[in-house]
Amino acid sequence: MTRSRMIAAICLLVLGLVAAGPVVAQDKPPLIVGAIYVGSVNDYGYNRSMKDGLEAMKKAIPGLKLIEAENVPETAESERVMEGMVQQGAKLIFATSFGHQQFAFNVAKNHPDVVFEHAGGWMQAPNFGNFFGATQAAWYPMGVAAGKMTRSNTLGFVVGVPIGYAIGNVNAFEMGARSVNPKAETRVVVTGGWSDKAKEAAAANALIDQGADVVTMHVDSPATIIQVAEGRSMSSIGFQSVEARELAPKHWITGLGFTWGPFMTETAKSVIAGTFKPAMVREGLGQMMTIAPFGPEVPANVRQLVTASGDRIEKGFNPFTGPVTDNTGAVKIAAGESWGGDKMGNFDWYVEGVIGKAK
């Protein structure tokens, strides 16, 4: 090797070390937290709610470092990303989408010193916990709002993937609507995925074509559906993030949003203190969930009704108390029976008034 080349090589080496230097010389943060999102945090929806929660946690614990990765698919790829975060020193990882569960669990097995919190699942291990909002009952006041605001008595619900929990949301919604408007019907369209913008647009249009004048959804991002509804002057009820109301300045009714901040902060603090205990945490209205502000078209009496209904739910009212019939006429919850939180994933039937097949 000639001398000039050696000098060049040494220069490059020094350059490399210098570049790496600042990374090494940083102050040690109290905790490095990793988070993976299945989509983009700018979705006015699920991912945004997770991001807002994490930002709240970051604010509450000064110096905390947050590593994030968006658009992490719910496949084995996610293991790679989480491993990478562990390599970067993360001691707490939030796997924010349902489909990340198994992969987060796999990584957790290999790193017992790192705590994992998964959203929406059920697995547990000494370093693996689970959390989610108890959404089903919270949809009841949404139904109340929709039932009161609809003029066509047709409500539209776009569902991404027809899992038990989503079907339960639709059911609570319809029951809430029926409680104030016995003629209200809910039409359901399934897009087949949690996030397919083109299909969501087509689904929203299809529902409106079929007469729905209030549209709501259970997909990752309510943005496309709300925009379609607003564009066609139909009302919308949002889900996942209360910020979605920005998308429908005129015809927004209300919505449900997640408030993950307090739980995330608590978890981070417990990890720092070394007192983390895994649990399956399900919290509803008033804790992990909140009702969004009302839109300009909602009259005062409706606001009152919805707020009162929300209070009832907070205080423990369970809409899934028998007798409850499905949309084929069969009694699914007998009189005197009640379906509690543990059964929310078991819905494979729609209540009376819902037009659709749950399979």
């Binding site: 350059l15 490399g16 570049a19 790496a20 990374v23 590593i67 994030e68 990765a69 968006e70 658009n71 992490v72 698919p73 719910e74 496949t75 084995a76 790829e77 293991e79 790679r80 990303v81 491993e83 990478g84 975060m85 390599q87 970067q88 349902f98 489909g99 198994q102 290999n110 993937v161 899992i163 038990g164 929990y165 087949g192 994933g345 078991n346 494979d348």
Partner: protein, 346 residues
């Protein structure tokens, strides 16, 4: 032709130098883009190297990525030798996974040493039959295989989705569309504590067999004859139709093995998103490698390395993983822009 060590080395090192130049140029172009986007490419490249070579997990993940690439590359290379263009490895991968899943779900009680070979066979057959559809259409001179394999690529994942949303929907996670988890006996073993799995053996075996057949057997000679001049080959009495059918079946089978490995080793069940384009990248790998076995290993390594750059960019720089496709594309563009590469049929 006698290839002695010196000639081989000269050839290989000339190609390597050419390729090093291409890669460096591509890295430079990509770095410019990253800088324009406000990111730090030098840090990203250094981080990637430390991650991949200084870290057992990073290196093992490199191998994990290489496995399906090598398999799908062989799936493209084999038919290329007889002048067929197989861009259908993606679909063949899915069908291999599908048939293997059928077996895993139907026979959970068999012991591993019976079940795993059976699943391997099913994976091979699944992919092979799917490719055979295109092969038959081509042999009957009905449809060109480029287009038929391309179309079949899109039907296969839909078939998989149909099953996991329907008959194979997992009841325990009725919450999520996927097949039930495979039993332990149906899981392809991994090495040490990494995710590097037995599929590596399949990949290497396929490559070795491919190389042996092409360079050391009469079959390989016949195949190259067909690829060079089909009419002359036919006049020499080489049964072209038989070769078309067999080669497509085997090629699809190799891709099917990639699918089988994905579901039995990595995923542990059938899911709707099995492949981030392994079929297409494999085609490009084979094309870049000039359908040579050693080239396939090198190119798979390179593309797996590029994917690692994507990982690092995502985690440390906040750049979407998808952006790394630009780097991959630029390398390909540069190679495509230079003199023609290798001996892939036309």
């Amino acid at each position: 032709m006698r290839l002695d060590g010196a000639t081989l080395w000269a050839c290989a090192s000339a190609r390597a130098k050419g390729f090093a130049f291409v890669t460096a140029a591509a890295l430079g172009v990509f770095a410019t883009l990253l800088v324009a986007a406000g990111k730090d490419p030098l840090e990203a490249y250094i981080d990637t190297l430390t991650y991949v070579f200084g870290n057992a997990y990073g290196f093992s993940e490199l191998l994990v990525r290489m496995i399906p690439l090598m398999l799908t590359a062989v799936a493209a290379a084999l038919p290329a030798r007889i002048g067929l263009i197989n861009v259908g490895a993606e679909g063949q991968l899915y069908m291999g996974a599908w048939l293997a899943t059928a077996g895993a779900l139907a026979l959970p009680d068999l012991p591993a040493f019976v079940l795993l070979p059976l699943l391997t066979l099913l994976g091979f057959v699944g992919g092979g039959l799917w490719a055979l559809v295109a092969g038959v259409l081509r042999a009957l001179r009905l449809v060109n295989e480029t287009i038929s394999t391309l179309l079949l690529n899109y039907i296969a994942p839909l078939i998989v989705s149909y099953f996991i949303f329907g008959p194979w929907r997992s009841p325990e996670t009725a919450s999520y569309p996927q097949s039930p988890a495979f039993v332990e006996a149906a899981r392809l073993p991994t090495f040490f504590h990494s995710r590097v799995h037995f599929g590596l053996v399949y990949a290497l075996a396929s490559l070795v067999l491919y190389w042996l057949v092409m360079t050391r057997t009469r079959i390989g000679l016949d195949m190259r004859a067909i690829g060079g001049n089909p009419e002359a080959a036919q006049r020499l009495g080489i049964p072209i139709i038989r070769y078309i059918l067999t080669v497509m079946f085997i090629a699809g089978g190799v891709a099917g093995l990639a699918g089988m490995a994905e579901v039995t080793a990595i995923q542990g069940r059938l899911v709707s998103e099995l492949s981030p384009g392994y079929g297409f990248i494999g085609f490009l790998v084979s094309w870049l490698a000039g359908s040579s076995a050693a080239g396939i290993v090198t190119m798979s390594f390179l593309f797996a390395l590029i994917s690692s750059v994507g990982d690092i960019l995502q985690i440390t720089q906040g750049v979407p993983y998808a952006v790394v496709n630009i780097l991959m594309a630029v390398i390909l563009f540069i190679v495509l822009g230079r003199h023609s590469v290798g001996s892939v049929a036309r």
